[in-house]
């Protein structure tokens, strides 16, 4: 089986066996032991049978499992495992300037009605960030209202589908850096950039291995998870120009206090919550305000 590329075009090989519900757990454990892989047990409520699936690495492995345990080998097409995803029927409106749609057809239909607005195409791909999730939406709202646009430099750490970086590009930002540690996500982001006809440099980089201060941006966005943000707080702040904004998301309300502590080097500007997810915007004090403050102190003396 070829590795999955930027979009789910590949078929997925699966070994499958239906067994009586009461035997499913025991058979699943046995199948997992034989195959040396994690079995997936799927059952319907009150169903008499359940199915045990194993995703082998290649056909040879699949045949080996079949020889030992029986069952069937299936080649799942993307129509079976990807298309059943809930389709997005309506475009997302982010602020007054941006619309996010799923395909070129939707964009075409909207282009005539929504003149003067930027329309971004982000299909559901194998990377996080189609605009539907609360964290992505909150980040988009935060960057669309950042005062440094359209001239500032922009950095997207953990870019996923590249939605935030592309949105910044459409809002007029020219100097954009975006990276993700996952090669698949970078491939998806590059594909999305070519669909939208925008030029953004997406790189495969691990945030924890980037030299602090290597990038300098006026807006830094990191929609990751709280534990990573907490660990890399000082590194993320080192990328921020004085007067710039740091937008972080992927945080639960209970983790906000820890985030405030971790990013104490900057001041909290705003906090927004949606669907049990939070987005925090921090501001780094500009040099001017520091100078003015010190001058004010001297005058007082």
């Amino acid at each position: 089986m070829k590795p999955l590329l930027s979009s789910p075009k590949n078929r997925v090989l699966v070994w499958r066996k239906w067994v009586a519900s009461e035997k499913m757990e025991a058979f699943g454990a046995l199948a997992g032991e034989v195959a040396g892989k994690c079995p997936i047990l799927t059952s319907a409520p009150f169903g008499k049978c359940g199915r045990v699936d194993i995703y082998p690495a290649d056909k040879r492995e699949a045949l080996q499992i079949k020889k030992l345990l029986g069952g069937r080998i299936l080649n799942l097409s993307p129509d079976v495992w990807w298309k059943p995803q809930v389709p997005r029927r309506h475009p997302f409106r982010i602020g007054k300037r941006l619309l996010v749609v799923q395909d070129a057809k939707q964009k075409e239909n909207l282009a005539q009605r929504e003149k003067g607005k930027s329309i971004l195409i982000v299909p559901a791909g194998l990377a996080f960030g189609t605009g539907e999730h609360a964290t992505t939406r909150l980040c988009l709202e935060a960057i669309s209202s950042a005062p440094v646009f359209p001239f500032g430099a922009f950095l997207d750490a953990g870019t996923g589908s590249g939605i935030l970086a592309m949105a910044a590009k459409l809002m007029g930002c020219s100097n954009i850096e975006a990276f993700d540690y996952d090669a698949k996500a970078v491939a998806v982001a590059r594909e999305n950039a070519s669909i939208n006809g925008v030029r953004v440099r997406f790189q495969k980089k691990d945030l924890s291995r980037i030299t602090p201060g290597k990038f300098k941006a006026d807006v830094v966005v990191a929609n990751i998870i709280a534990s990573v943000l907490e660990k890399e707080a000082s590194r993320l702040l080192s990328f921020l120009n004085p007067g710039g904004h740091l937008v972080i998301s992927g945080i639960r309300p209970c983790e906000v206090t820890a985030m405030k502590r971790a990013f104490s080097g900057a001041s909290l500007i705003s906090k927004k919550t949606s669907e049990n997810w939070c987005c925090l915007v921090f501001g780094k004090r500009s040099i001017d305000s520091d100078i003015l403050k010190s001058l004010g102190n001297k005058e007082m003396e």
Partner: protein, 141 residues
């Protein structure tokens, strides 16, 4: 009214590392679950247990929404971690691969207790000792 359940999916995923590649993507995608939303939720919930493999039970509802619960890591995985071995014995009756003290096994019992069908720690110890025996791990003391 409670939402109608259409399927229950049981699988094991490394904590904080769910991604849409097989097996997670196809397993959930076939039920119409939003794969990326699940990955984000799962990774955020399990970020503190990074490094452990967690059994997860996902309930899929008729409107394609989902909920999930994570359980304690499998006893075999915990025993191997404490015994500092990569794989269990292929012939547990003949080849023993590690030795653990009763106190070390009790550590596993304490982690697994909430998910075991046992009345007390003594009964739970016997369950875990059985798993250890199957893996070729000897319990001393």
């Amino acid at each position: 009214m409670a939402k109608e359940v259409v399927a229950t999916i049981k699988l094991q995923i490394p904590a904080g590392q769910a991604n849409p590649a097989p097996p997670v993507g196809p397993a959930l995608g076939q039920q119409g679950v939003n794969i990326m939303a699940f990955c984000k939720e799962f990774n955020a919930t399990t970020q503190k247990q990074a490094g452990d493999i967690l059994p997860v039970v996902i309930t899929v509802y008729k409107d394609k929404t989902f909920s999930f619960i994570t359980k304690s890591p499998p006893a075999g995985v915990l025993l191997k971690k404490i015994a500092k071995i990569a794989t269990a014995s292929k012939e547990p009756n003949k080849t023993k691969v590690a030795k653990l003290t009763k106190a070390q096994v009790m550590e596993v019992v304490k982690i697994k207790m909430k998910d075991l069908n046992a009345n007390d720690e003594e009964a739970a110890f016997r369950i875990i000792a059985g798993t250890a025996r199957q893996a070729g791990i000897e319990i001393i003391g």
